[in-house]
């Protein structure tokens, strides 16, 4: 029962993350963040170089070719959440496998 409960919790959490990224992100403030603002105010921003992938399909949290800005941001957010979840699940499954493969002796365990 505990493990199905955990699955339910994970599903619920993922739905919250998807909801925030898909539906709420389009309403976020578009003002520069703290670092960007400080950089702009104090002449640091001019030293920025363009990003290598600035023309990538998801660059700037937007989908190329989707005109509606909120929809564009939302879909890019959905993709980001799913990709991050996938990489995270894989990484931490590997981390766990590392332990079962190379069990530290109980004397120095955590």
């Amino acid at each position: 029962m505990r493990s199905s409960n955990l699955r339910l919790f994970l599903l619920g959490g993922l739905l919250v993350a998807i909801g925030l990224a898909l539906l709420v992100s389009g309403f976020a403030s578009s003002a520069p963040d703290g670092l960007d603002k400080v950089a702009t105010d104090h002449g640091i921003a001019a030293t920025a170089r363009s990003h290598l992938f600035e023309n990538g399909p998801l660059a700037g949290y937007a989908i190329k070719g989707v005109g509606n800005q909120r929809l564009s941001t939302g879909i890019s957010g959905l993709i980001g959440v799913l990709v991050t979840f996938g990489i995270g699940l894989t990484l931490f499954a590997l981390v766990r496998a590392l332990r079962s493969g190379d069990r530290p002796d109980p004397g120095r365990a955590p």
Partner: protein, 232 residues
């Protein structure tokens, strides 16, 4: 708070890259030793949740916004080692797919937003926990305050990097005052989001919260009416 390419010169960026690689390596090793089985999928969820909430910039002052960094929250939920890895994954996805945070600045960004917030935030959290009673409310409050402080620590880390290798002409003192000022405000938002999130998880599945592990009532086995034996 993502540093783009160019703000910090190549030697300082490289040094931060080496520090980030070392920190991620340590985190991987320690997470492999300490991450509990049921927390592994939770850590994946924490990474996805941080990605989502980092998109939600909130206004903090005229013409300025802030967003969650998430390292302290991740560290409190899944431990400082896995927590740092959660944010590192987010930064990698943002830098590679969303052109957010320069690729040459990935090390700088991992140091500031992953290592400093997860480890620094967790250290503050642990100190606060010692001073507070062992209750869920204390865990939530300590999480909020520690997360807020972690944002200021991250902004200080940027100032150090700027002092060492900044390409801009602004004096370090000016940048220090501006960064700490605005990130104190952003820290309030970070603290509220973190307290809300940690409080919610504590309400639903307190056993999953690494930073509240000792709050768990130990399982007591024993004959009915007989001498009970605690099982840890």
């Amino acid at each position: 708070m993502h540093i783009p390419d160019g703000f910090i010169n190549a030697p300082a960026s490289l040094a931060a890259g080496a520090a980030a690689a070392g920190g991620v390596g340590v985190s991987l090793r320690r997470a492999a030793q300490t991450l509990q089985d049921r927390q592994a999928p939770l850590a994946g969820l924490v990474a996805a949740y941080i990605f989502a909430v980092q998109m939600l910039n909130f206004p903090v002052a005229a013409g300025t916004s802030g967003h969650l960094l998430g390292g302290a929250m991740a560290a409190i939920l899944v431990g400082p080692w896995a927590g740092a890895l959660c944010v590192a994954v987010v930064l990698l996805v943002q830098g590679l797919l969303f052109a957010d945070g320069g690729l040459s600045a990935l090390g700088l960004n991992i140091v500031n937003m992953s290592l400093v917030t997860a480890w620094g935030g967790y250290a503050v959290f642990a100190l606060l926990r010692r001073a507070l009673p062992a209750t869920k409310a204390s865990v939530t409050a300590a999480a909020g305050v520690a997360a807020g402080i972690s944002v200021v620590l991250a902004s200080l880390a940027f100032v150090v990097e700027y002092a060492v290798g900044g390409n801009g002409g602004a004096p370090v003192g000016t940048v220090l005052a501006a960064m700490v000022g605005v990130h104190t405000l952003i820290g309030i938002g970070e603290g509220l989001i973190t307290a809300l999130t940690v409080g919610l998880v504590l309400g639903v599945r307190p056993d999953l919260v690494h930073g509240a592990a000792e709050l768990q009532t130990p399982l007591v086995l024993g004959p009915k009416g007989g001498t009970a034996e605690e099982v840890r």
